[in-house]
Every structure is written in C-alpha cells, then in structure tokens.
Symmetry: C2
Subunit: 211 residues, 2 copies
C-alpha cells in the first residue's frame, strides 16, 4: 500500500505557480518584461512550458501579452484596485451570507479553528496574512462552488500584485481582526445579512487602508 501519491501536475502548471510567487514577491515587479530565455534557463526547462504558463497567467490577468513583444507583469492601477476590491466585496459577502444560512456545526467549528489561528497570528504579519487568506478561501470552498472559488482566487491574485497591501499598514491588522470576530459571530449565529454586512465592511476598510 502506497502513500497517497500527490497527483503530479503538468510542468506548465508548476511554472505558472512559480511565476505567481515571483510576481507576488515583486521579484518580477509590475511593468517588467519577462525574458523567456532567461527564465527558462534559470529554472532549467525549455521555453515551451514557460510560454504555456504565460498564457495562463495572461488569462488570469497577472501578465499582459503584447504581440511580438512578449509578456510583462500587469501594472495594477488605483482604479483597478478599487474595482477588484469592489468585486471581492460583492462575491465574498454574498458567499458568507449563503454559508451563514447553510453551514453545519462542524463547518462552523472548523472556521472557528481557522479564526483562532488568525487571533494567534496577530503579531506576525506574514502568518496573519496567510491565516486570513486561508479563512476566506475556506469559506468559499465550503460552498462547493468551483466557479466562485476560481473567480475569487484570481481576483485575490490581482490584489496581491499591489505592493501596498492593506494588511501591511500598521493598525490595520488589529482592525481587520475585529471585523473577523464580527463575521465569525454572524456565521455562528447563522445571521446571513449580518455576515454579508461584515464582509462588505471588511473590504471597504481594507480598500481604505490600501489606497
């Protein structure tokens, strides 16, 4: 009997993920051109899977393709950021409202656990960021809606292109945590409209902090 062997992914998918990491880390800053040959050599593959990965990232909006010029990391304007926050607020608030009305006790307990991890990470920026994203994504996963999950995941990627991420502002973490507590309460109380309002507020404040 073998260990659950991780489904091997296609190379282009791994490359896409690697590029995302580099983009989010601003190792590939917005506006910078992507030198196919350079990166392909760097990671020890041919250009073919790299170019396939770039097409994926372009469809996600992380890079922009210019004919005969190649790909550059998308520059996210303030307007873009505002629009992305608005969409995230709309989608995630609706999702939270729906989950509030249908979550099982086990699911609430799991979310409570993720929330507790968030509380514990309040003094660790990176950990808080990760715990925060995990909580948000888990809420979506519980709805078992792959389209919604995919859309929100893509939007969050774009949001992460922005250097001035709201959670990196001092004071914002504490505030964010407060909002999360309120959301957790609303979910536990199965209060859909409260959950919706909490998430709306959460993003509204997040945007204000990011601007």
């Amino acid at each position: 009997m073998s260990l659950p062997t991780f489904a091997p992914r296609a190379l282009y998918q791994d490359v896409a993920e690697l590029l995302r990491q580099r983009i989010f880390a601003h190792q590939l800053p917005p506006g910078s051109w992507i030198d196919e040959l350079k990166i392909a050599e760097e990671i020890g593959i041919s250009r073919t899977p790299l170019r396939e990965a770039l097409k994926v990232l372009a469809t996600e909006g992380l890079v922009t393709m210019k004919l005969r010029r190649g790909a550059y990391v998308t520059e996210v304007s303030q307007k873009d950021l505002l629009q992305v926050y608005h969409l995230l607020a709309l989608l995630e608030s609706d999702a939270s409202a729906e989950l509030a009305s249908k979550a099982s006790a086990e699911q609430i307990a799991e979310l409570q656990g993720l929330h507790d991890a968030l509380e514990a990470a309040v003094h660790e920026r990176d950990a808080f960021f990760i715990a925060n994203e995990r909580f948000h994504m888990r809420v979506l996963e519980m709805l078992d809606n792959k389209w919604l999950s995919q859309m929100v995941a893509d939007l969050r990627k774009v949001m992460k292109l922005n250097r001035h991420n709201s959670l990196f502002k001092s004071g914002r973490i504490e505030e964010s945590l407060q909002e999360h507590r309120a959301l957790m309460r609303a979910l536990a109380a199965q209060d859909s409209s409260a959950a919706r309002a909490c998430v709306m507020l959460h993003f509204k404040n997040g945007l204000a902090a990011a601007s």
Copy 2:
C-alpha cells in the same frame, strides 16, 4: 495613408476563439476529447499554438486538462449551471445598479438603441440571442471595469456550454423581452435598486427556464 489595419492577434488567440465557436456549436460536444493532431492538421497549424489555446480555454473553464490524457470539453452539470447563473445574477445586477446611478444620457440612448434591436429580433432566435448578449456586455463595458467584464464574459461562455439554453425555450423569449423592458426603464429612470431587482429576476427566470 493606410486603412485601419486590424490589430493582428496572436495565432493562439485566434485558435482559442475558433475552438470556442466549435464548442458552443456543439461541434465539440461536452465530454469529447480534443485530438490535438487532428485539429491542428484540420486548421493547418502546428500543435504548439493549439496547445497554448487549450491552456487558455482550460483557465476559462471551457475545457479540462488531464495529465497525459489531454483536454476534453468541460461537462457542465446542473449544479454548475445553477452556480453560474447565481454568479451572473449577482455580478450583472450589481453592475446594472451602478450604471443606473451614473449613466450619461448618451449611454442611456445607446442602450436604448440596443434594446430596440432586441425588440426587433423577437422572432429570430439567433438574432435575439446575439442582441441580448450585446446589450448585457455593453452595460458592463460602460462601467469601464475590465475585471468585471472578463469575469462575466467567462461565466457566459460556461453558460453557453449548456445545450438547453434558456433562450431556446419557447415562450422564454417573450418573457425575457418583458424583463429587458423593465430594466431599460429602470436604467433610464436612474433607479439603481429597481435595475438590480430587474436583472436578478431576469436571471432567476432564465435559470428556471434552463433547468
């Protein structure tokens, strides 16, 4: 002085569009595997740009990639359809509400023109379908939100995978037109909440007809 030369697109984009057409026309039915060699020869290109196009379609959700098996046209379940309609309702109703509050007289006039085309196409299924989609997409474009436009466009593509499209049900066209009239009135009256409600109802009825 030269004629406005159409910005030549990359080959993989043209191929992606061609595949979308074939998928929507059910020339490539849901569940069918895509034979790269066969299609590449058929349209007279190599496999490389075709494979790039497939990655794009996979990211859009139109096809699914299986490692070492290739790509097959995504099968849209009833659950998927319900979820997609829900998301379209959420996104487009919000968009309509926003546009109602900020549309210029010129924009309302343009939409009125598109609506009139819809009225005129009531007895022509395909024309009605096209006019309907043009109206919906134009509303989004007027908000100048590329993220929203892209998401809705992708969701609509998935919706079109379904053979039993609501607009093909008899009686639905007339009903749909009524809903459009109400929306047009709400937009012209700059009544955001009415516009939102109209679009919500439009999709709710559309889903009911599609199920």
